[in-house]
Symmetry: D2
Subunit: 329 residues, 4 copies
């Protein structure tokens, strides 16, 4: 296997706000400042850029230059279809004008992605869904969602669109809530340039096995990208990789390498109270540990255990790779 | 709408065991005794029969006669592919002989279903899945599962097979874990006589909106049957209908009636410590309350609120139907 | 029982922000604007005021006048010890200067509470806890928390301090996480003027029975106040009262009335995407429905069922009160 | 630190049943057979014995001899107050005769514990609680529970009684549901010989930090024993130690050693589908790994990070101990 490439969402280096610290967990961070912070992380090669850039008026060329200066590449653009204007929905907003505005914002982001030479445009329709029982006609939300993604994919056939699914937050329920539901939608859309961004934490707290989810998306040719982080299984805590669930992170990485995955190992951490540069370094250091453990893994022994569905043997094999030999580590 | 038909799984009237009260929550109950208990529930018209019958040697004709005597009809047969022999998997067992035994047991159950004139054979592969990370190759479990269901559906083209999905239990993770994943499997199998049994409680504790899940299965023509019960959203508690989540139960019923659903309103309750006949009566009484509330529902007002995705208005409309007018109820 | 008094947190009428709609779910709302919005809710009598007031410089007298003009009374002051300065902890911050600043902010809020004639000062140390395993010495966080609350209670013996517990958010784990843990702390502090604000939603998603939690706090003489709202049992969604769990809300109200509770029935809803005045009206309307149902409740029948721990009978009794007689409602 | 002593519940080696595989996950296992299986686990020194022994008539002397022959010691007796007779409650059963029977069964178990020279009698009142809202008067359940435990502790002042708390299962809600609630009960009982058995898995899926829970129980002098296992955080899966949450297991062990804990490191695993002897060996092997990692831990560096509440540094320190140095492991 070639050397793994590491990435991060640019928001990793931004400023966080929530409903309690509404004055922010720190001072504002502009797009160029965030790029410069990302540039301090030695092993980071690519970033996923939110769009529009901040402040307004900052051009894609200026952003491209900042990336280049920091030896970074934009792997993706993520249009911000979840801010105030879209708080009652982007693709599924009851107001047709807002739905149109969402399409237009993604289209502008897609143009920027072309200029930056990105691999994909990320769609994260986090406001598309519902909060209350009886609030909406679920068929209509489904229709709106698929029509919008289909329109975008048809309009930009040279680009790829990766839907990031998540069970909930900020809406209490999202339309694209699981790997399987998103695959159903993608196959119904029927275009080759729509796929999935699988976020390990979203999958975990949605009750999936991230390794199983990855296998399923790969089997349909739709795994376009991944994000990693960790959580307490009850919410999208976006903690540093491996801090809670190293075993399942290891299994996820194993499934990806086993399937010949050649994408980027990308951070989606939210270090609310931590130094963002250090948090990125630490997340990557954990990913490197896992890759080294995979190099040590006795794959034949694991495959034999899996054919027998022998949980105890499988655990012993992977523990030896992760921690070192049983009676020494 | 015609008068709703009510049903129950025959196990509702059986004897419960768990890992603590391993001597059972009561004395054993034979198949015929359970049928006679079901017969005491005035509004009950149909039952889903586990197979094989108990005790061994009890014939399908004897069972049929007992049902008739109690003015009941068998709507389905549920082969018990989750007992000791299948504890490491039925369709996905690592041992090919056990996988074959599972197919044979379901086939025998299907023959019984033919004799009894059932609407469908229920497949509940609760032991098909995994417990530990790294225990199995998820692609293989998927393959085994789809091959088995496909073989059965092809062998009995005159019967319908309804897969009951569930996130977990007794396995820590099930292959058929959600409505969307099961639909992906069904569409991959590609036969018209495979569909879904949607259990309200499974859907709820799996993080789905049962109403949304029903819409999705119906849109693909695959909703063959439903079960209802209630729980604390963290486990399949199989409590009496409406005892915890009447609003979402109401929404589920609304979605089904709105879509022209004409199936049976069926109980899957496990009254461990309660009188099973009374629990069934009470579950049906709640379902009748909900149907009456649906009759009172201002559908135009609700539809308008849903077009606007107006949660507050929708809640007011449904509360008036459920509890009576605002300032009186 | 005398007529119930209804209240709300003033933030109900404020502006919401989260990590996605970081530009807010609407425009900023000042303290006086929020008070005027609260004044539009006909049945609202009291409000819980966050402190400091917004904008800076707004005096307690001006706030008092605005309340009076709107026929409202301040039942409590909630010092904002969870904003940027306190994002790594208020009472438990590793920096002694910040810990001191938290005490001072609460003290200033307590002075305002005196002027406003409040019933209690609410302590909501939502940033006091930890995010990661191994991050902190739990004994030290406990010590810091108890020392701070004890110091405040001793400094203001004429005021009451109500700790609002919650399992998590914004910290991944809070020190005051449950009713029982908070009671342990309060009894260790040993002062009479420290008690609990029991938030129904916090209790529910923390896995408690809110009715049981209320009984426990009352039995120790420590239930100072309550907040109500609703959620999906997995997060503090702060939805409109009764929209998800009317049965347990009913049980909570029953426990309070049965115990002779004479406090305020207070809303802590976060209507992110809804009209805040209408959401408050609707929450109060649901509470009034529940109070009317309690008036209709056959208390003797319920008490008899509870003595027998007879779940089915208890459910029938409360359903008749909530929905009307069984064969009519 | 002296060499750790490892133990297991004797049920680890027994036969499992659940509501699906009601014919058991394997053939029945008698008490003496289970003891002989436990004897095959090289590093196992002590066992917790369920009572009454199986089959009926097996004497405590025969059990003692079997233990001795296997080089094992009984650390505790666990009276089975959760079987059929007690399915509607043991200490809290609505029937006073059954409540008395529960006291008598525990008393008989306590006599056996005396003969066997146990350290404590374990109380696991898993059927004491409720299933439905409104089912019971929570004050009465509390009263019944405390009276029963107090009576037992007073009757056997030479023995210690350890309450094993758990959020739920088999009841949907248990009276002794959390460390804090159990401590409140114990302090209300007011006797020195009542304490807590802290099960790591119960604590984890109850939303506690097991390390924090251990600290709290130790600070009150009430931590009598621990059990370890693992789960998916949503249910008491009783999986092999460290298979899901090694970081928090490590933190739990660290808290215990830091506090000078000198008890037994005891397994409460339920290997439904695995070889029970191998599962015990593997669980102990993981515990030995963790103890070795603790030996390597840079305690000064960790203490400094905790004083600063510096999550990233703390994680780096513990990862180096668990996996080996950062750039090598």
């Amino acid at each position: 296997m070639q050397k793994p490439v590491f990435g991060a969402g640019i928001w990793h280096f931004g400023r966080y706000v929530d409903r309690y610290a509404s004055d922010g967990y720190g001072p504002p961070v502009s797009t160029l400042e965030a790029v410069d912070l990302a540039g301090q992380v030695e092993d980071l090669s690519v970033v996923d850029m939110t769009y529009p850039f901040d402040p307004a008026g900052l051009t894609v060329e200026e952003v491209g230059a900042a990336l280049k200066r920091n030896d970074l590449r934009a792997i993706a653009v993520t249009p911000e279809i979840y801010t105030r204007r879209f708080n009652r929905g982007a693709f599924t907003n009851p107001d047709p004008e807002v739905r149109r505005a969402a399409i237009e914002l993604v289209s502008a982001g897609a143009e920027a992605a072309r200029v930056l030479g990105c691999d994909y445009v990320k769609l994260w329709p986090g406001q598309d869904g519902w909060d209350y029982p009886f609030q909406s006609d679920h068929r209509q939300l489904w229709r709106f969602s698929l029509d919008a993604v289909g329109e975008l994919a048809a309009a930009f056939p040279d680009l790829r669109f990766a839907i990031e699914y998540k069970p909930r937050e900020p809406r209490n329920a999202m339309v694209f809530s699981s790997v399987a539901k998103t695959l159903l939608a993608i196959e119904e859309i029927g275009l080759p340039n729509v796929g999935i961004l699988l976020d390990f934490g979203h999958s975990l707290y949605g009750g999936e096995s991230p390794a199983d989810a990855a296998r399923l998306a790969i089997s349909r040719g739709r795994l376009f990208a991944i994000d990693v982080n960790d959580n307490y299984r009850g919410w999208d805590d976006d903690m540093v990789v491996g801090s809670m669930h190293p075993i399942e992170t290891f299994e996820f990485f194993h499934a990806l390498r086993e399937a010949g995955w050649d994408g980027v190992w990308q951070l989606d951490q939210f270090p609310f109270r931590e130094d963002s540069v250090q948090a990125a370094r630490d997340g990557i250091a954990v990913m490197k540990r896992i890759h080294r453990a995979l190099d040590r893994l006795d794959r034949d022994a694991l495959a034999a255990a899996q054919r027998a569905q022998d949980a105890l043997t499988a655990q012993r094999v992977i523990q030896d790779a992760l921690y070192g030999p049983r009676d020494a580590g």
